[in-house]
Amino acid sequence: MSIESSVADRRFTVDRQALIASLRAVLPEQALLVEEEEMRPYECDGLTAYRQLPLIVALPADEAQVQAIVKVCHALKVPVVARGAATGLSGGATPHRDGVVVSLAKLKKIISVDPVSRTAVVQPGVRNLSVSEAAAPYALYYAPDPSSQIACTIGGNVAENAGGVHCLKYGLTVHNVMRVRGLTIDGEIVEFGNAALDAPGYDLLALMNGSEGLLAVITEVTVRLTPKPELAQVVIASFGDVRQAGDAVAGIIAAGIIPAGLEMMDRKAIHAVEPYVNAGYDMDAAAILLCESDGTPEEVAEEIGRMTAVLEQSGASGIRVSQDEAERLRFWAGRKAAFPAVGRMTPDYLCMDGTIPRKRLAEMLDAINRLSEKYALRCANVFHAGDGNLHPLIMYDANQPGELDRALAFGAAILELSVKFGGTITGEHGVGIEKVDVMAEQFSLAEIAAFHRLKAAFDEHGLLNPGKGVPTLARCREYTLARVGSATSPRS
């Protein structure tokens, strides 16, 4: 990869042999990968545009082994990059050239599911979906459902403060996690939050959510389980014009409705998904909205009626309501498979994650279409419309010289616009390595400096996931300078 990246800095001087010897002393033989051949597959996560071979990969099987690794790394001042399922799209688990990748995939025990207190205690490598599966016999589930929920892990969800298609009503990870147990960089065990609804002192639990592995290594999580609603139904509305779909979103909220899910897909996204999932999406629509209602049957009937009225008023050309649970799941399956399904149309894509005020959705889509022409790259759009969280998928071919750079410039332009529209560069995927430079678009130098001081309160030497999340002040200055020279592309 040609991109000069912040995980290849040479701040750390590590004696690899000494590190291997120290780790061997505390870990079973097969828990360490040290040969290039076996480390290569760990060189990237869901963001393949950034790849970096790590110094070592460790595969601990329990908290004690994680602790032993962290202590060795702390003593030898070696970076630690925690990794769950590596489905992240911002490069949060991209290795550091002088660091140890600590895979938490083997810590995958569901320690307990308690239907009475409606909580589950799980290890960080437990998959999001398996928590809901384990809770299903009690008619409970874990509410946050990111699209990658089949594969992504709870540890990663906490690190990224993952959202999902139901978070307008049911909240993000931060709203559904009660306790996080983990290790500080010096290897001390700490617990943030507890089994009650609040904890004394600062809200460090909130701080852990979305901290991208920069503050602690997570070893256990208590999540809140939610009673399954008696009934859930989805309405799919087709629109001949993207603007109308955007207006319908604002219309629904204005009517005082908080749908359980409110998602939007444009034509390209529909065309990527439908042939594979057969979800029943309207292939002729310029955009579709998926609106979910849940609750008691009476409640759902009432809400579906009100939503349908708003959708019709906004000019929906077709409306379908799921008739049974199987159909509802099929309607959602298309949405959840949307990202990789775009992989059928293009060898590579970048998934953006800006969030903007809902009322500017249509304006944003217009702007994206113009940028798509400007950079000569296709773009499919999948939005968490209810939250104003956009996922434009910029399609490119990394084998074509120059396309990746164009894609990155296209992405950066979208993020700039998100900030300009009063939003943020990342709603749920995290800053990672991908958006670390663009942080300067959203935050002042003083704010970035405050982030660094906050980080130092946990990790004085900056060993946890260096190069991610927050840019160095020097990089911020460079970025700002470069921006003065170019109105649209920070990288050109």
Binding site: G46, A105, K106, G343
Partner: protein, 417 residues
């Protein structure tokens, strides 16, 4: 994913195919979640995305060693990853290409080669396999437990006779197969009886032996192609004369393979067309029955009895992932009055996977025990599956009998008979 294949393979047909497959993978990692070996081992290298990466590295010219070999060997070829993959990655093809290159690059120790040779020669040949099993079964009580488990038990019900030829107009051919007639002779007999009731005569062509899948997956491609040609030669006259309307597969492992004949023999001008024709005429037994839904329902009504017996069904990977036939056997069993016990993680492989239970005994054993635990969770009276390999593999660890589903339908139809 970005690729940069090395010169040695870049411009070959295999190289082009591999490149296209690699580029369709977006590295999302969804597939790792449903991969049986990743679930057991928790290492990226033991999941599909990691294996894809290992193959990519190899094809890009990076040095490979026993490490890559180990992780590719551990793959069951169960194709659960393909069912999960939203991006349509044809993993099994990439794996085949990867394994071929690997065989050239990384030599195997002599014992491994010798075992493979033996498997390759013995299994597909009834005249060797039959006495070997007979001796093994006789000796079973005397063998240490670990070895005894490896000797297949005669699973399934006692073989009852084929129906007397009733001179039906409709006729289909069943693959006699290599190991099935020895281990579970009742499977084809039961199929014949059920089809007979539906007005279809089932026959076997004795000269059609092994479908070729066994040797194909042991990297004996040429020998496998010979097996396939032998089957085609045995069947072709009946196709040409129009005497049969199709081929019924009672082992989903064979079914998957026969359905690939067209692709596998496409470069053999003498066989390409015949192979494609036969592949197109091939159905799994459950599809054949599903197509006769109404007469079957009438027969079941006639037979009357509805035992409500609780059974747990394991859908073989070759059925659900490779042939993508899902829910069909389940519907037939339910229609016949059996109650299906819920089975957790139904997408997971039981560990049989061709000769996997012999080459990777530890993983195969874990997968089998996990599968049996999942199937037995609701204490069913019977375990049921649709492939001879799964049936014997599961039976080797189970006190509860493991049967082929067609036997259950047969018994139900013959209740009143």
């Amino acid at each position: 994913m970005q690729t940069n294949l090395a010169d040695f393979i870049k411009d070959t047909p295999a190289g082009r195919e591999a490149d296209a497959i690699l580029r369709s993978c977006v590295h999302c990692g969804f597939c790792t979640a449903t991969c049986p070996t990743f679930q057991l081992l928790g290492d990226e290298l033991d999941g599909p995305r990691g294996r894809i990466y290992l193959i990519k590295e190899m094809l890009e010219g990076q040095a490979v060693s026993q490490t890559t070999q180990l992780h590719l060997d551990r793959c069951l070829s169960c194709r659960a990853c393909e069912t999960t993959c939203p991006s349509g990655v044809r993993y099994h093809r990439l794996l085949e290409i990867g394994r071929e290159v690997m065989e050239e690059r990384v030599p195997r120790p002599l014992v491994v080669r010798a075992t493979r040779f033996l498997l390759c020669e013995a299994l597909p040949r009834r005249w060797i396999f039959r006495p070997a099993v007979a001796i093994g079964q006789l000796m079973r009580p005397l063998l240490p437990a670990a070895l005894a488990e490896k000797v297949p038990l005669a699973a399934g019900g006692a073989a009852r006779p084929w129906p007397r030829r009733a001179g039906h107009k409709r006729r289909m051919i069943a693959l006699a197969g290599c190991v099935q007639p020895i281990l579970t002779p009742n499977t084809n007999a039961a199929t014949a009886r059920v089809l007979d009731r539906l007005g279809i005569e089932l026959i076997e062509a004795p000269a059609a032996n092994c479908c070729g899948a066994l040797r194909y997956h042991l990297h004996a491609q040429e020998k496998a192609l010979d097996d396939m040609r032998q089957v085609i030669d045995a069947w072709w006259p009946d196709v040409e004369s129009g005497r049969v309307e199709g081929f019924v597969m009672t082992a989903s492992g064979c079914g998957e393979h026969v359905r690939e004949y067209g692709k596998l023999l496409k470069d053999d001008p003498a066989y390409a067309d015949k192979a494609a024709r036969i592949a197109a005429m091939t159905r799994d037994a459950c599809e054949v029955l599903a197509a006769e839904q109404e007469p079957l329902a009438a027969l079941l009504r006639q037979a009357g009895a509805d035992s409500g017996e609780r059974v747990a069904f394991h859908s073989p990977c070759t059925l659900q992932h490779a042939q993508k036939i899902r829910g069909v056997v389940e519907a037939l069993l339910t229609a016949a009055g059996y109650r299906l016990a819920p089975v957790a993680d139904p997408h997971l492989c039981c560990g049989s996977a061709g000769t996997y239970s012999i080459s990777q005994p530890v993983l195969a054993g874990q997968l089998r025990d996990n599968k049996l635990a999942a199937m037995n969770a609701a204490s069913p009276a019977l375990l049921v599956t649709a492939n001879i390999g799964c049936q014997t593999h599961l039976q080797s660890g189970s006190k509860v009998p493991v049967r082929h589903w067609i036997e259950l339908i047969d018994e139900r139809l013959n209740v009143g008979a």
